[in-house]
């Protein structure tokens, strides 16, 4: 697994249409689950985009993952309930991959009391501790945190593993390399998933990194790596299955780099094309290789899917999304707010059980403080 060939992230630009979707070896059930997940995620993101303005009721930054559905779809099939998932700000795909509900997500985006975090976190900081899912809006801190969760699972002999999702931008940060080193050193059960979409906000990877082959660098730290075309959901599923099997077997961390592309803007539903950081030619090339259309045409070709079943799927998902938006809009805001208990836990059940109360004692006030010695 440590052998890897670096694939240029501009792959579709070089090769044109991707023709490599191979369905063999993956059950029809899983193929349809991948397709269903990506369709649901895409429709959700498009609806958020549609509803965001002009009502402005979702008054929080929303980072859409249109075009990057394949990795979350594959994760949804390999993640177990006892696994941990740590996400960055572009969180919706990972959130759904860990089994989060649309109602809790949408109520959170609307800032409502019924949201996943009572409307305190929003899209980019959403978490569901019951499902071991944690988001966060500061780049790369979550990668370090995921390694800590891996340490905890290892020390507790838990069957769970940790998955941490991030982009190429995260690998600019020093702490990323500290985390990779530590995971390799301790052979921690952590899957590092880099969705390399080529840009940190608007800044292309080659403008930020002297050597753009991230896997080569990770490999040098002692973590095995795999590179692949990240819009082929079936291949991503195969790769993540192999990687997680290996991690579950106790063989330590794996780094997977999936080359993909964000068709949506960096943040919000507005088109950020006017910034001029990427060409229409580039966008079109990736649009022609959208993960959903690649899988859909392969499924049609193999007669695993037809127009009627797609229509039925779309209809079901639309109903679920309608319900989630209605739930979110009808829900109340949190009121009243208790700032103190939101920030600090007022109870300490373990200390109550294990510790005695403070004794009366005498402090000898006459004694001298020490003269600190060398070092």
């Amino acid at each position: 697994m440590s052998d890897h060939t670096h694939m240029d992230w501009q792959h579709p630009l070089v090769l044109g249409k991707y023709e490599g979707v191979v369905l063999e070896g993956v059950s029809p059930k899983n193929l349809l689950l991948l397709h269903g997940f990506m369709t649901r995620l895409r429709m959700l993101e498009e609806r958020i985009s549609h509803e965001y303005h002009p009502a402005n009721e979702m008054a929080c930054p929303v980072h859409l993952c249109i075009g990057q559905e394949a990795v979350p779809a594959a994760l949804s099939l390999v993640l177990q309930p006892h696994d941990f998932m740590f996400s960055h700000h572009r969180s919706h795909g990972y959130y759904l991959a860990k089994g989060g509900s649309l109602r809790l997500l949408m109520a959170e985006l609307y800032g409502k009391a019924t949201g996943a975090n009572g409307g305190l976190a929003g899209s980019q900081d959403i978490s569901l501790s019951d499902l071991n899912f944690y988001g966060g809006a500061i780049l790369t801190g979550a990668v370090g945190i995921s390694v800590g969760a891996g340490l905890s699972l290892q020390l507790q002999n838990s069957p769970g593993i940790v998955v941490t999702g991030f982009g190429d931008g995260a690998t600019d940060e020093g702490i990323f390399w500290e985390a990779i080193n530590y995971a390799a050193l301790k052979k921690l059960p952590v899957l590092f998933v880099c969705e390399n979409n080529g840009y940190a906000t608007y800044s292309p990877q080659a403008a930020r990194q002297a050597r753009t082959n991230i896997s080569e660098k990770v490999d040098a730290f002692g973590v095995p790596t795999v590179d692949l075309f990240g819009n082929d959901a079936v291949e991503v599923f195969r790769t993540l299955t192999a990687a997680t099997d290996r991690i579950r077997a106790g063989e330590g961390p794996v780094f997977v780099q999936a080359f993909t592309y964000r068709l949506s803007s960096h943040v919000g539903p507005e088109d950020d094309g006017a910034v001029g950081y990427r060409s229409e030619f580039e966008k079109d090339a990736w649009r022609n290789n959208c993960p959903i259309s690649l899988l859909t045409s392969a499924l049609f070709k193999n007669k695993l899917l037809d127009s009627a079943s797609v229509e039925a799927l779309v209809c079901d998902v639309r109903r679920e999304i309608d319900d989630a938006f209605a739930f979110a809009k009808a829900s109340p805001f949190t009121d009243p707010i208790d700032w103190h208990s939101l920030n600090l836990c007022a109870t300490s059940p373990l200390a109550d059980r294990l510790l005695a109360e403070e004794d009366e004692y005498i402090f000898d006030g006459r004694q001298q403080d020490s003269i600190p010695g060398p070092y």
Binding site: G148, G150, F363
Partner: protein, 327 residues
């Protein structure tokens, strides 16, 4: 009662917490060197609990703190150790952007039981990158508790309370206190956060002293006593939360307040305590409150300059005398 040094009390708190709770984990550079480790505060831990639970850590403080956050999110109770507070500034992102708001952004559902032990201050030429004490920075953050124990008894009780509690805690240990001896009960006990102690009752001046300033404050109170001035010495023990009531009760009687703070003056803890007290007592001060802090300067290395830099009991008695002359 049995006496232990401050360092031994810290060692005992960790030892007992690790005995009581299998999820307690100690991470830090050199914590596994039993004899020389961290001023003797980690002696015997590696022998008893092994290298899984007492882990030497790479020289990567920002990772260490995020590892603690992740480990706590997945069920552990990590204790981190920084031999100098200066070293932990690499981890400010982990503290300010993750640890302190983990509970908040969960909507008040999650807990974050992490203790960061951090050694501060003074002496033997530590200079500007080995001696900082910036408790005020951390007490400024919502969602983080800050303890500054001044006695072996409080060091043990506050550390046990922190390790087995549910909130992130910055636990500040002053170098000048490590060899100080005091009575320490053998059982595992708690000192609750936000409860000050009156170390010496008095009627003329309230002297609030923090952490490493407590011994000097006690000696100063003794010296003033011989000249007939009754100083009340209050040790808040934790600055976040701060026991405001004990301070209010005292200043109602004395109507004079000096705060001895082993940190810098500007925007500091002494200023915060005086502001809080002033909001409470209004214009009933007998004389303006006084901050007794380090100069607004980085720490000098040389011995004579160190002696000037750190306020001692002489500085405190001088401040008290000046205050009483004014009023």
């Amino acid at each position: 009662m049995r006496e232990l040094t401050y360092a031994q009390a810290i060692q005992e708190a960790q030892f007992q917490a690790m005995e009581l709770c299998p999820n307690v984990l100690l991470l830090g550079q050199l914590v596994n060197y039993s004899k020389a480790g961290i001023f003797g505060t980690t002696s015997g831990l590696i022998e008893r609990f092994g290298s899984d639970r007492v882990q030497d850590f790479p020289v990567a403080e920002s990772l260490m703190t995020t590892v603690a956050v992740g480990a706590a999110a997945a069920g552990m109770r990590p204790i981190l150790v920084h031999q100098r507070q200066d070293f932990m500034f690499y981890s400010f992102d982990a503290i300010a952007n993750w640890m302190a708001l983990w509970r908040f952004k969960s909507g008040g559902k999650s807990t974050m039981p992490v203790v960061i032990r951090t050694v501060v201050g003074k002496g033997w030429g530590q200079g500007p990158q080995h001696s900082k004490s910036v408790h005020a920075w951390f007490a400024h953050l919502p969602g983080l508790q800050v303890a500054m124990p001044a006695t072996p008894h409080d060091a043990k009780g506050l550390l046990l309370e922190a390790i087995l509690g549910e909130n992130p805690v910055l636990f500040i240990e002053h170098r000048s206190l490590f060899s100080m001896k005091g009575p320490v009960p053998e059982l595992a006990y708690r000192v609750r956060f936000g409860r000050a102690v009156v170390r010496k009752a008095g009627t003329d001046v309230t002297l609030v002293a923090l952490g490493g300033m407590i011994p000097a404050a006690m000696r100063a109170a003794q010296l003033m006593h011989t000249s007939g001035i009754n100083v009340e010495v209050i040790d808040p023990r934790t600055i976040a939360p701060l026991d405001e009531q004990t301070i209010f009760e005292s200043i109602h009687r004395t109507r004079r307040l000096i705060v001895a703070d082993p940190g810098w003056r500007n925007m500091g803890t002494a200023a915060e305590i005086i502001a809080t007290a002033s909001e409470h007592i209004g214009n009933r001060w007998l004389s303006p409150p006084v901050r007794l802090t380090l100069p607004q300067s980085h720490t000098p290395m040389s011995k004579p300059l160190e002696a000037i830099y750190y306020p001692d009991e002489g500085a405190i008695t001088a401040a008290i005398n000046k205050m009483l002359q004014i009023s």
